[in-house]
């Protein structure tokens, strides 16, 4: 789930840079603008990425669940991106290879750039080149729309209640945090 506001409007548009700066600042504070720190994730020596991203995930998930329950947030208006199976598998693989090579993902590349790191600038330029290539190479857009599966959610796919899925994901995250703490102590 992303982009909670489907409606246009100046206020919603104005909230985008604010949220973007807050996101970047928090990533920087978590030390995620440093490629070496991120790369250590893949060797299980520093699990900051896992901890930060899973903390954000369960915070958003629990927040969305209970805000909807309180009638503050209407989940029906939260955009669920559509699944295109093969293109997204291929995109995930490209993303993963790029992440390992650069030690940065798109968000942290921007953070590294803002921190004045030249490798961050290189990663951002590479990312923009990829975007440009995608737009210019004929047929790539059509290729990105094959094997459409529509918007998929875990409760739908697992046949479970939303609350049960929220509980399972939270339990996995909390167990993961405990395991990560142990691994880092050993490393």
């Amino acid at each position: 789930m992303s982009a909670p506001y489907l409606d246009g409007g100046g206020m919603y548009l104005a909230s985008a840079p604010l949220l973007g700066f807050a996101f970047g600042w928090l990533l920087e504070r978590a030390g995620m603008g440093h490629p070496k720190k991120l790369a250590r994730q893949f060797y299980l020596r520093d699990l900051t990425v896992f901890k930060v991203l899973f903390s954000a995930l369960i915070t958003a998930m629990l927040g969305a669940f209970w805000l909807a329950r309180a009638g503050v947030l209407e989940l029906g208006r939260v955009y669920v991106p559509e699944t295109y199976l093969l293109p997204q598998l291929a995109g995930g693989a490209v993303f993963g290879v790029g992440f390992v090579l650069a030690g940065l993902c798109p968000g942290t590349a921007c953070v590294a750039t803002a921190s004045g790191r030249s490798d961050g600038v290189a990663a951002v330029l590479g990312m923009l080149a990829g975007v440009l290539a995608f737009a210019l190479v004929p047929g790539l857009h059509e290729l990105s729309l094959v094997t459409p599966r529509g918007p998929l959610t875990l409760p739908q796919q697992l046949g479970m209640s939303t609350g049960a899925v929220v509980f399972l994901v939270s339990a996995v995250a909390l167990a993961g945090f405990a395991a990560a703490a142990r691994l880092e102590r050993r490393a």
Binding site: I58, T59, L62, A64, F65, W66, A68, R69, G71, E74, L75, G76, S161, T162, G163, A164, V166, F167, S170, A171, A173, L174, F177, A178, A181
Partner: protein
């Protein structure tokens, strides 16, 4: 793991356990089988006389007219408010508000019913034949010369309601002049005989 981390982990665990117990974030998730059961049991609509009785009794009900402004100004169900589907999609009322929807015919109101049920509104009905049903059954109830006892009984109930809303009940009319709809048994769809008012209600089906 610091003390703060422990507290946060405990809070997340408690919130997750609560979510497991709560089941769905909206209290009631949209379950199409539930909607199908409601439709099959005919709990999705209300008859025009029932709606009239609610209005007379002053029961808390919000009535929404999905037709355009001109049609609404010309003739409408008393207490009804005009609204279009886009506004209905953003309607923000307590989810247990009793809501009745109507349009020219039934189709548009039925679509709006699904929309509101999907948004978590629990007490939503629509007029199955729209404003036509309101005119035919509430404003201008008619009793045929060869009326059955059941029809006579229905007319006796309908006539005071018609007078309350400024309508005109008529008795002793030819059978062919009695408007028909889903409420007649057996259902007859020949709606040729209407007064000027009934005739002015265009039945476009939406």
């Amino acid at each position: 793991m610091s003390g703060l981390h422990r507290v946060l982990a405990l809070a997340a665990g408690a919130a997750a356990l609560g979510a497991l117990a709560a089941g769905e974030p909206t209290g009631r998730a949209l379950d199409v089988t539930v909607l199908a059961r409601e439709i099959a049991a005919e709990r999705d609509h209300v008859s025009a006389p029932e709606l009239g009785a609610w209005i007379v009794a002053g029961e808390p009900v919000r009535v929404f007219d999905l037709r355009d402004a001109t049609a609404h100004e010309t003739l409408r169900v008393p207490t009804s408010e005009r609204i279009d589907l886009a506004a209905l999609a953003k309607l923000d009322l307590p989810r247990d508000t009793r809501i009745v929807l109507y349009s020219e015919g039934g189709a548009h109101a039925a679509q709006a019913w699904v929309l509101l049920r999907a948004r978590g509104y629990t007490d939503v009905r629509f007029l199955r034949e729209g404003l036509y049903e309101w005119v035919a059954r509430v404003l201008e109830p008619r009793l045929a010369v060869d009326a059955t006892p059941a029809e006579s009984a229905a007319y006796l109930q309908a006539a005071p309601l018609a007078r309350h809303f400024g309508g005109q009940p008529r008795r002793g009319v030819a059978r062919a002049e009695v408007p028909t709809g889903y409420w007649t048994e057996p259902a007859r769809r020949t709606t040729t005989a209407r007064t000027d008012v009934v005739g002015s209600v265009r039945r476009r089906g939406c």
